[in-house]
Symmetry: D2
Subunit: 187 residues, 4 copies
């Protein structure tokens, strides 16, 4: 048995839908379950009890939602200090209006969350381009759900993006199983 | 007359000292003044009244302090929506323990703040290597104040880093004067 | 009189068209001219004779074209060593297939070129969202020309992206004029 | 049996020494071997025959050596197109003078190589802070070998950095074994 912790922040529900889809994907992997929580509700014990971690956030000004950052500063920092999570796996997904067509800052948003994962000693699981539905909302670092059109009219994330998020959850769960007990960073 | 807004977060006082030093540098430029405020206290009007903006933060898990991110999400987002700050200037500085000797994530921390500035349409002022005291704590994006030694023993930022921060403030003030009224992004 | 150096690499012509459009924008600014050169042909003297620099590149695996990197390593490094370009202005633009809809690595590609500019002491000119045609291919760091559809069928960059690139060239030229002689980083 | 491909560029030998140390670490893992090659000599078949990939580069102007980028553009691009490497593991290391004490651009240099790995579908292996000798030259993304003092006097990388590089090689080899055959990204 293993658990993937899915921590997210959401304003209008797009990231929340992606989190739920990722949880579905996790549960398709034998022996794996998902714990889905809003950023404010995640505890140190939730991290410690997990085999893998997915962070999801809206893109705000080219960076993650401040509630995700508060979670990192107030909870992840302490886990880093104690070397608690080394050798587990991590992944990210984001949503955003994407004004301009260039992702609207989604890449640096993903990297800002992955930077925290590298500090925590997590192996990072990317999103390969051959993944089904990648063309509808993929970035190599994870799913990117575009929630608005080029005139900033909000339409919500598409069914294809949710299918892609589900796949990403499945990938994370498989990766967590693969490295469990491998003692990659041990003596 | 012009004003540089210096917004910062600080845990143990290192970033705060760098902010104060930067303000000194601003005031050395004829006609320029500095408004130094903690992240939680900065208002939209403070941004609108400024000619340039300096953001300072500790490095937490390879990213800015969450209070800076909250300021960005709750105040800067609205200014972005209204295109309020285009054509002004911006710069950054950070402090951190820097465990490992590679900057401990200072570069991506600076970029995460600069990403917000680019969204706001600010011209970004870097820190050239020929600046006096650069060798004691410079990164090309801005001053980096190392606050601990390689064993994570906290010693606070050095006098040289504060002198460098002062220089950076002076650079920002001069840049703000240079571009004032230039209408770089106008019709 | 002032000059903007536009250095670029191009595989199928998209980046080259954006470079030509940017040059047009530069020339619309009174007293400003553009020097457009392929990466392999740019010399140290071209940089020294310029008041501002635009770098354009296709996105290859989430990074700039290697010919641009060779230019940086073999020419810009020496200019950094001598502090030759401090206080001028710089900007970037990129093109790419953009498979996946999240920009396909355009953001980190832009940042990899801007990192070099920060080292060189250039003030960085972003692309504000209010710029005409931004919605058709803008990122806050500069124009992003999408050259293929979601099935990776190459269609070339759009007229709107070229118009946006022209605007970006104009912005650079104005910024170069504004800071000329300002001695931002001097004693 | 498994193989880690170690591809690198080196100017004065620092990165080359780190590559050799990493290879030693790989070989300490039962059943694992290392193939160490200069960037110019690496072929597509070398990548295909490997179970994991380590890229090493000097930091040049905040980015990787252009020979590494040429390898990425001319060899990795084709492997990306064919989805040849999904599900393997990757890691990075860099060396640099580090003028200024903030890593001199080492972080974005590492990220520019990791961006390519994410595109290729590799799981990314970070460097946890509890690793022995981390304090002498670690960044969370991989070993950073400082090759000069604050006055840019070249002294070469330290014995501690080489020990850290060896550890990183060992981590990569273990991670490659752990995920081999796991079909993380399959149907």
């Amino acid at each position: 048995m293993g658990t993937i912790l899915i921590a997210y922040a959401s304003d209008y529900g797009s990231t929340e839908k992606m989190a739920a889809a990722a949880a579905e994907g996790v549960r398709e992997v034998a022996g794996m379950t998902a714990l889905v929580k809003k950023a404010e509700e995640v505890t140190a014990d939730d991290f410690i009890a997990s085999d893998g971690i997915l962070f999801g956030s809206p893109v705000h000004m080219g960076g993650m939602d401040w509630r995700m950052k508060k979670l990192i500063d107030t909870v992840c920092s302490g886990l880093w200090m104690k070397n608690s999570l080394n050798g587990r796996v991590g992944g990210v997904f984001v949503s955003g209006g994407g004004f301009g067509g260039g992702g609207g800052g989604c890449e640096l948003t993903m990297l800002s969350m992955l930077n925290n994962f590298a500090e925590l000693g997590l192996l990072i699981v990317p999103l390969p381009k051959m993944t089904a539905d990648y063309k509808h909302g993929g970035l190599h670092w994870g799913p990117y759900g575009r929630s608005a059109d080029i005139d900033m009219k909000n339409g919500g994330v598409s069914a294809e993006v949710l299918a892609l998020s589900k796949r990403h959850g499945k990938h994370l769960a498989r990766a967590a199983k693969a490295v469990k007990g491998a003692d990659i960073f041990g003596e």
